[in-house]
Symmetry: D2
Subunit: 398 residues, 4 copies
């Protein structure tokens, strides 16, 4: 009998997995733009393989690949996935794949909800909750170990999601894609945490949209507000693996590099050592990753916390800590790099002399209710596209 999420959090650290949409996009199984997870039905081997990488890297949670797997999203702007594969079919396959790999180790399975086009289109609470309920029904049927409502930009919608989740009787994790500046309606990060906890979430925190260190700034504010309100819940961090010091309120979506030019921002494994340590010291006990987090990033988290967890991940078979494997390298000057000091102090160069350190984000400042955010089942036309490109707006180039 496996221990449940809450018991594990009470006793120590739970390591989450990394991001699926970005990793599978690069592998050819997810389309950037809609970002929907019909791959669970179309390419189950690829999804299973990625779960296995994270399990091996030390993840305690197999999060079913159900990001954006709601009917309204699967049929947005010309996406035909809902019609071809059904929301139910995609969610169901995702749960089975996650369970299969979880059983290969001591993993837990989580079913995940995320924000909906229905809410962004300004529709009602009932309409929005109906979308959530359809997914939760499948999760309950598949006996997932807990639910995770993540990637919400508005705490109002998040609270609606938590309400739906709590009715299942399962533990509920609630994680918003916000930074230290709070949600897109201007509600502070601290107040978001308080509302999530009061709505019944057992674990609250932040995922996606910002790099590990900005995410932890947000969590610091959440923790202070929760303490001030006398609320006892666990904290979760699942940040990007991209450096975003220049992102504004809306996170990496606004950066000119999103989503096809983010490479120079990818965090190293050493960044993740630092992230894991700082998160742990802050009191975060559910520590994972989101977009950009690959297996080696999760492994770095697990290696940093090896002492606290009393074990190394399976994947450390192929990774001696702090670059120890380089002692086996042919070239003597690479062997000379087999030390913690070397890598902890490295400030890696970009090899891109025409690129700058920071970008100026797009900052359209539109949010839930704005007509440009409304769900549409038809594809974007060339005319609509042209109307979006601001005259005089140039790319980040030279």
């Amino acid at each position: 009998m496996k221990k449940g999420l809450l018991q594990r959090l009470d006793e120590g650290v739970v390591i989450g997995d990394g991001g699926f949409v970005f990793a599978l996009e690069k592998r050819g199984y997810v389309k950037a733009g809609p970002w929907t997870p019909e791959a669970t039905v179309q390419y189950p081997d690829a999804v299973r393989g990625l779960h296995r990488e994270f399990l091996r890297a030390g993840a305690d949670v197999m999060q079913a690949f159900t990001f954006y797997a709601s009917d309204d999203k699967l049929s947005n702007r010309g996406n035909k996935s809902s019609a071809k594969y059904t929301c139910r079919g995609i969610n169901d396959a995702a749960c089975r794949l996650a369970r299969e790999v979880a059983e290969e180790g001591d993993g837990l399975v989580a079913g995940g909800l995320s924000q909906t086009p229905t809410y962004l289109s300004g529709m009602s609470k009932a309409d929005t909750q109906k979308e959530f309920q359809k997914q939760v029904d499948v999760f309950v049927e598949n006996k997932v170990d807990f639910l995770i409502a993540e990637y919400f930009e508005h705490v109002e919608e998040m609270v609606w999601a938590i309400e739906v989740c709590r009715k299942s009787g399962l533990p509920v994790v609630a994680s918003m894609c916000i930074g230290p500046d709070g949600d897109l309606h201007g509600i502070t990060a601290g107040e978001c945490a308080v509302q999530m906890a009061k709505a019944g979430a057992h674990v609250v925190g932040i995922n996606c949209h910002f790099d590990p260190f900005i995410t932890l700034e947000g969590l610091r504010k959440m923790k202070a507000a929760l303490d001030a309100a006398g609320l006892k819940v666990h904290l979760i961090a699942q940040p990007l693996a991209f450096h975003t010091p220049d992102a504004q309120k809306q996170g990496f979506i606004d950066l000119p590099e999103f989503p096809f030019g983010l490479e120079p921002r990818i965090c190293t494994r050493w960044d993740m050592h630092r992230y894991a340590r700082e998160a742990y010291d802050l009191g975060v006990r559910y520590i994972g990753g989101c977009c950009g987090f690959e297996a080696y990033h999760i492994r770095a988290v697990a290696e940093e916390l090896a002492k606290e967890r009393g074990k190394l991940p399976a994947g450390s078979e192929k990774h001696e800590q702090w670059a120890g494997g380089l002692k086996m390298h042919t070239k003597p000057w690479v062997r000379a790099r087999a030390s913690r000091q070397y890598w902890e102090n490295l400030c890696p160069s970009s090899g891109r002399p025409f690129s700058a350190a920071m970008s100026k984000p797009d900052a359209w400042g539109v949010t839930a209710g704005d007509s440009s955010l409304k769900q549409k089942t038809t594809a974007t036309t060339e005319e609509e596209l042209t109307s979006l490109v601001k005259p005089g707006k140039v790319a980040n180039g030279k």
Copy 2:
């Protein structure tokens, strides 16, 4: 009956696959340092999965994962892989995995040799060729479609490898890990090409060690020398997917970021469009990648050359060319990025304000025969390690 390599090259473009050691290291199946491919025996699903990604991305060649799979390498500096899995076992498994995936499409299987510790240790031609012969025997038994001798720093050893390969009767591809400045014994890139062609290679060129654009500079020199010598062979390019404008003669190995801090140097898919076009225009007909090249990079090569090849890769099902999929994105300002002009002009920022554009390479200047390069079956001791770290040498950090 599939067309063979040489016929394909005569008729058009052959797209190679990407890099295995770096991709599988991140996934947890290869150890950085020895970089040896015992994963073919230990984790066949992971290797098969990566082959499939490249096939789907448009690769015409499944290169058996036999990099550094020679007995001397598998037992170098404390590596026990040779003893546990045998050189023969690893090579054999590699061929079978590559063949299995090749049969799922129209792929060819290549068996690969690379430079040996035997040569670097200053041993004889006979000793070195014996290492090669052991691998070639397995490739021939497995009926690979052609042989590829790649990642050689010295043309002398390369010629020895070609001699062994030619005895098999199979087409021979010869690819050195050099840049425009030539091999590590000071032989020019042009002269290397001439020697490879005269030794009997059907295809000659460059892989690894430098970014796509520096690699093409090297190929330009090779082409000029081959033309001047009246030699008719095909050209191959399989560069890094890391920007290396600052690398010196020995390539990215010398950069302070090698191998665990290369993230900010990773090429975007748009860099690969440019690479594919420039390679094609130069007359290179075997166009692939090496370390750092993932499926989405190969897909970009295949998409750039879609017209020349008369087809898109299977993986383009999940990737509308030039960011077309972004038309389905929720945020209007991201939809506004759904154009070639946007991405072609983007100069991506690093998000790393404390990092510079370029690094100063280590430049130890030792090469074949130097005692520090000699094969050793025992592990590197702490004393040896300490002796390698130059006093006063600091990392690239601040």
Copy 3:
């Protein structure tokens, strides 16, 4: 009869001059380290010449070059200037040079005080005010138009200076070298402004230590606090002409580049157009510069505010606004740059591929009273120097 400072501020904008110590250091007339102004006695032509450049650039104020011209500073750490030239002699010469040039136009003469080693050494209010009084006596004898107490890191000492200045009956300007985070004793920028105003300063604000834009952030806080306290005073900004986004509380002194490697941070004239506009819009009416500000920076301020002032500076004879003079350039592509749009959008490259965008400041966190800050008349010995260099501390280099 010239209008006085306060009348001018009530009626419009007053433009200050730029920095003397940095400009004259580069010209060979001031020594970096002590930074004391004995040049007024030694090299009057050089000082006069610099005043003239600022007058011509549009400055309304000739600030007598009396920075750090107090007895305690002139005899600190091996400096012999006090003995050779006397504090009185230096201050007196400074006033006469400023007056001479001011009379060539419509300029006002200001006598300036700055923070003292006496205070930093933890000595008494009486001791500190005695140092100030000696300078003020000379200023009054020389009939300066107003007094300016500037470059104070602690508002406590500033208040003492204001008290001494007010007794003269002259208008008093009070300007601290702090940023948005307040003074070195942890007093907020807003509270500093309030204390300065309450102590009787007619104009309060910020000079030195931070770039124009961070300085304006600090002024925004000062303004808010003054408004909240119902205090009516004018505002002054005299920032650095160096970009300092990475400076912490103690400003550019802490940056590894101070004082001999600041070149890549120097602001362009276009930065100063933006500064002048933003300062004016914020309500700042005394707009000048400090270290790094040269005549062309002041001219840019005057050109940006030409409409508000109803005139261009004399120096615009040699500078058509917004690069208009480039129409006379030989090369056609340089003529093509003769536009505001070109220069307003330029993000100038550094030409330094091994340098980063930002530095990590030294942050010793010592302040008034710390033994390492105490005044000493003897020179720093090699032993003292060695004890200051932290083991393992490396420069910002590679």
Copy 4:
């Protein structure tokens, strides 16, 4: 009786002065665009003051401020200087100012010629030499110590200038504004040197257009060619004080930052120590600077070569070598920077997170004879200006 140039070069090192047009532009006395030196008549104090700074910094040569002081240039594109001040008047005043300051020390006076609009307009040798002759006549009347023909982009025009100069009987220095790639007609740097020497120049070399280190690369080629041709002449280097690793054949004029955004490229004094040492080691004996070189840069050259010259410059009174003056700084962490090691290893940050390391030069590729380069006495019209701005061309900004 002062020693002449050639004797001084035979016996040791001659230090040149720095740049006048850029320094005086910033001070308000020269207009960028035409860059002509009527300030010698209009603002003699300012010109005299700058000469004095260079003399004090260690310069052995006072180069009369006659850059571009030819009739055709003084009346180009709306410039009225020729009419108001006459070519003769400007050159005459320049000689007298240089002589006056030279007499304050052991300085030599040089009269300078530079390339002409007449040549660029495609006019005849006779026409071009006539322009030169007018200036040389004034120099001879003023008894300058030697002539310097500098800032020539085409060796053909340079040879014509040397011919005119040689007839005066004075020593002739010939310095082209080219880099390692040679002149704008495609003649190699080595061949340019040979032609200059054969035409009778006593000293040949390079000034302006490139940074010190690229300039020295060019001189290395010149030296090799002169040696190969058995020609014995002295070498001169007078580079920019701006980093230009990204400049192409035409130098810094092509960089998007020219001339009003070059600040982040300004060399530090430590760069100049390295420059002086490398120039000396290469055998260059006339070592000075051009645009961007201020007194403190020249002083750094003189300090680096103090041992070779047996003396420090007068200006070192205010500059203890290798930052020794910082021992007198108040802050202990700044005192800790009083060492050669600190400054030699510093890689200064730009404080500009939105700027890149390198720019892409404009590269119009037009040269002598092209209609867009022709001399015109009328001002550039708005229509002409518009026709120059390439559609779609954006500044280097973001």
